[in-house]
Amino acid sequence: MKTTHILPMPLSDRWLIGLACLVFVALALLPLVASALVVDKLTLLFILIMFAVMWNLLAGYAGLVSVGQQAFVGLGGYAMIRLVEAGLPPFPAIFMGAALTGLAAWVLSWFVLRMKVGEFAIATWVIAEAIRAVVSFDPLIQGETGTSLVALNAYAPEIRRLTVYLLALASMGVMIWGTWRLLHGRIGAQSQAIRDDEGAAASVGISTFQVKQRIYIIASVGCALAGALWLASAITFQPRTAFGVQWSVFMLFMVLVGGLGTFIGPILGALLFFALQEIFGDFGAWYLAGIGIVAIVFALYLPRGLVGLWLDRGCDEPLSMRKRLGLAPGQTPRA
């Protein structure tokens, strides 16, 4: 019997995907019955999930540990404001702004992707700060004062809220599905090989720069889209907030707590972070200290994140990216 097939997706994963589809449909219908507050909160949750999924793609699957993704969060919002100023309707401007930010990421990639781990992390942060300073000089932004996306006031608050909610839900769905497809394709294994050993990856024919560049641009566009959606719900754009390092810290927290380099981990991490924000968000500085303590506890006792709870019990990673080969009888793994 020949062993020339890759095993199909486990049944448990199929059930999980089916459940996720049902949740997605339920979320799409939820505004029919949910209050404005719930819709706003869920919009924020979708945005957080987008951030986590994109940062995990970058750091967890390609080893590109960026602490400067806020550059693209801010640029997404800024591009949206500029496009609206140029006469584009606000909602199409969300997507056009994200696409333009992808162009900026392409330009930046030629510099930052030539750097190694530590240098890369620092460079991304420095670049984010530099972009924030440049954007602050734009008269439209009025320095640190910022500006508001007043064009959104043309829509009734209910319509605006519902549109942003549905756009955020759809964007999140596309990002999760797109990441799944991407990681199951050629680029998925290649990016993980680069993450594990870039030199060895090149020696087996992987164009390391091109693969990293593609991942970097996709993650940047994703963060820009999430950033623009956040602006569409918050309306006010202030450079210090939009380009704040807190975005990268949130992304890092969600991914590490959920499970770096796992597909489902960032989503779980975003849910936990959202819950912590909702429960303890009113405690000011104590809330931030609490977030730090949670991060320390996870680093010490659950380094593989929430997904580690499955793995530590000997269970397979849910929605794993692993390609498993069907082994014929007699070819079972040796002890």
Partner: protein
């Protein structure tokens, strides 16, 4: 036997490599004919692995030219050289630890040989069997022992569909029985016409495979030719084998 009138499969001419003020390779010339198995020996620090790195495109060379089947490799990076048919193994195995053994080979077949997912699966399966790794196919590569990590190095190189394979001390640390397995594998590859350059300290293993031998010391080729002649060469005796012929 390889014809000496044919074009070399791999040819290095005047290769020099410096790391800062340290010159590691001095005008090294090396050529290997299609289907030939060339052994490279020399003391530690002779520049053998650096020569492999230079030929495989792991870093730019300071001087000289490298040609693969007549094609100048200058300006091509490691990935491009691999896709052109020049594969290598590493002295210290470098598996992709987060991927399974099967995925390690599969990703090399997709990227290095340009195969589709299905074609790569077929190739990876064949290579798993050939290298004795089938039973470990679904294991994380990081969990393998030394012998299997070395097997995986060879398997991954083969998955790229090479014309030339550079083997860097793949016999080190293995038992005699394990070494016999490895030699049988390499002899099989040689019989299929694959061109091989093998760096190895275990001379008796190397001499069972190679038809020609080169000895390096201090970044230079000391002697090159028939293995017996090279071993008997006075400079080789002095620099590598630690004795001087009377």
């Amino acid at each position: 036997m390889a014809s000496m009138t044919a074009e070399p499969m791999l040819e290095a001419r005047g290769i020099g490599k410096s790391f800062g003020a340290l010159k590691v390779l001095h005008d090294v010339d090396l050529r290997v004919m299609p289907g030939e198995a060339l052994g490279v020996v020399g003391p530690n620090g002779a520049g053998k692995t650096t020569l492999f790195g230079a030929m495989a495109g792991a870093f730019p060379i300071s001087s000289g030219t490298i040609r693969l089947a007549g094609q100048n490799l200058s300006g091509s990076n490691a990935a491009e050289r691999c896709r052109m048919g020049l594969a290598r193994t590493h002295q210290v195995p470098r598996p992709f630890t987060g991927l399974t053994v099967f995925e390690n080979i599969h990703v090399a077949a997709v990227a290095g040989a340009g195969l589709s997912i299905t074609e790569a699966t077929t190739r990876a399966t064949g290579i798993l069997e050939r290298t004795g790794l089938t039973a470990y196919a679904n294991r994380p590569a990081g969990a393998l022992g030394l012998l299997d990590r070395k097997r995986l190095e060879v398997a991954r190189a083969l998955a790229t569909g090479p014309r030339v394979v550079l083997l860097d001390e793949i016999g080190g640390g293995l038992t005699e029985a394990e070494l016999d397995e490895l030699i049988a594998l390499i002899q099989g590859l040689q019989a299929e016409g694959l061109t091989i350059i093998w760096i190895e300290h275990i001379l008796h293993a190397l001499l069972r495979v190679v038809t020609r031998l080169a000895c390096m010391a201090e970044g230079r080729i000391l002697a090159e030719g028939d293995p017996r002649d090279v071993i008997a060469h006075a400079d080789v005796q002095r620099a590598y084998l630690g004795s001087s012929p009377e």
